[in-house]
Symmetry: C4
Subunit: 204 residues, 4 copies
């Protein structure tokens, strides 16, 4: 099986996820600038964060499948599991927004991110196993420092919100800082993978 | 007519169906973990089931069209009929969820699944007829045991919910077990089809 | 400019239009079979009709662009005008459904169909002009009987609903019969175009 | 990295943005023609304007990427920033519509357009830089008069609405005229770019 249709389907699902989140943003009831800030300010920020996350996943997915020639049933299902986790973003983002960063929604948002990271890791592992000993993806991923750091930071955020946030807002603040931090870490382009992809394509 | 645009269109429709179901999930009114479980627990489970079903159809559709080179008008319309049945999933899933597994919605959900299975079978038959005597799809499908068992299991579920469920919940329980069972049967990858596809592509 | 991205974009828009109409269908408040029939029966029928119409446009669009190699700015904009008309289907379909076939919504639904037919005709004409004297599309379209009959039937429907429907339901009934009739006329595959497309591809 | 997946993903997002705006249009409560005009008239006009804008961006995006062979991480992120700005159109359009052209929503709509124009300019600049000295896109863009005039006109509209509109409607009127004017300017096809694209493809 070639990867083209899997990529097209994933692109479609990711395009929809990234766009329907904006449907959560309802126009403010009033018509002034302060109405906009009060009723949609938080919504816009959470939308921006979730948009960035889906953008990161699309970028990484895009890079990963540049190194994949054929897909098996296992890859199809691991990919669907990743898409399922990402498809819950509009729901968890909406809850965080509506609750104005209440404790539980922030925790669940982190759990959603953690689940997506695990699904991505499983997909990567399934592909590497299938590619065998000299897997180009394994070389590209290398030590996969970002992939290993992210879940630790998510867990730090989740437990901060769970344990510290008794009465105050510090735990939730730490959690949000963790989620934003991981996004920034991933936006910085992964030069190493880019180089390996180029080598791989040139050698084609 | 080549299959590329039919595949792209079907991918688009399936990507939308699989993603908009999550729009049915409204963030809970409260902000606690028990609010989440009570108001969205069943929604998440039905969403997972329907997501899995659409994923199965996408996988099978993907495999099937690997063995198709050209499409006729009949294939286009049989494919649209399948997409129509699948496009009703968000509606029937939403009803099952909102009614907390009431009898009629569970029956209608099963009828929707049965209709999709029949539409898929019709599409498969139209393609095989068009391909003629040495149809590669016919070989790949073979005895089509799964395709023959599924409608029987759906019907078992539908009639269980209809007939047994007088006062108790056992009929609905059997129906749901049937629907989940068919999904599990299909997730197990069909090694046979995979092998024939590979042979077919190698011989290209 | 090649046609691939125009086709991909149009496929995306048509896939969304055909699928979001089902979002208009709200699960019935009650949980019985008669609740389903009373609250969603008409919705399902109008959805089926509009789904069929969008399917017909997709089929014809698909066939038409098989005969087009390059697109100009004029073709891009004529195509966008067609997509705009089709994108209003969920709105007009929703109004027909909600009003239970009231006079004005049925008229506006017909106007929407007429506008889409005119936009399709303009697109076809722009392409034929650009292709010049021996345009393959002009040959394929031929006398374009269906394309000429359809607007006449739409207008008959629109004026029946407007003029006859004073107190009774006959005008609306004729209009709906007209709309359904055009759909049936188009579902029957256009063998002639299929043959010319095949000739064209073989001669490639 | 080739551009095909970036184009497919952008097509998907733009197709969704252009189509979900119509979801903002709710069928009128009444069933008469004047209900339609009063409750949806403005909505239809703003939808048409925003549809045209997204259509213009899709057209320009389409032309631009005809001149791009490979994408870098910077291009991916600049493209996502553009898609983010465009994804806010349904929200700002909805607010303009609901408020019946109140001052602040009209200003914010202009800011949204300005942000999209800037994001497009950044994307163009990132691509030109990456293509180096003899960038085909730089040649195609040339003096980029339209690209330079548009933000000035947007700013004129924004400040007209902000400063003139005290008590009367003239400021908002000027702003809307500015927004419509830019759209008309862009619909007129850019013959120059078309010619360069053709030269470029012929020389391939």
């Amino acid at each position: 099986m070639r990867t083209s249709r899997l990529e097209a389907f994933s692109d479609g699902v990711l395009a929809i996820i990234i766009t329907i989140m904006v449907l959560e943003l309802k126009p403010p009831a009033g018509h002034s600038f302060s109405d906009l800030v009060h009723s949609t300010g938080i919504g816009l920020l959470t939308y921006l964060l979730s948009f960035t996350y889906v953008g990161i996943y699309w970028n990484n997915h895009h890079h990963m499948f540049h190194l994949v020639q054929r897909v098996s049933g296992g890859v199809l299902w691991a990919n669907l599991a990743l898409l399922f986790c990402l498809s819950l973003f509009p729901f968890t983002t909406g809850w965080v927004d509506e609750s104005t960063f209440a404790q539980t929604p922030v925790v669940i948002y982190g759990v959603n991110m953690l689940a997506a990271a695990i699904a991505y890791f499983v997909l990567q592992t399934v592909i590497i196993r299938r590619q065998g000993a000299d897997s180009p993806l394994r070389q590209a991923v290398g030590a996969d420092m970002k992939g290993k750091i992210s879940p630790v930071v998510y867990l730090t955020g989740i437990f901060s919100a769970l344990l510290i946030d008794r009465g105050g807002h510090m735990g939730v603040g730490i959690a949000l800082a963790c989620y934003v931090g991981v996004a920034i870490m991933w936006i910085v382009p992964d030069r190493r993978i880019g180089r390996i992809v180029e080598d791989y394509e040139t050698s084609d």
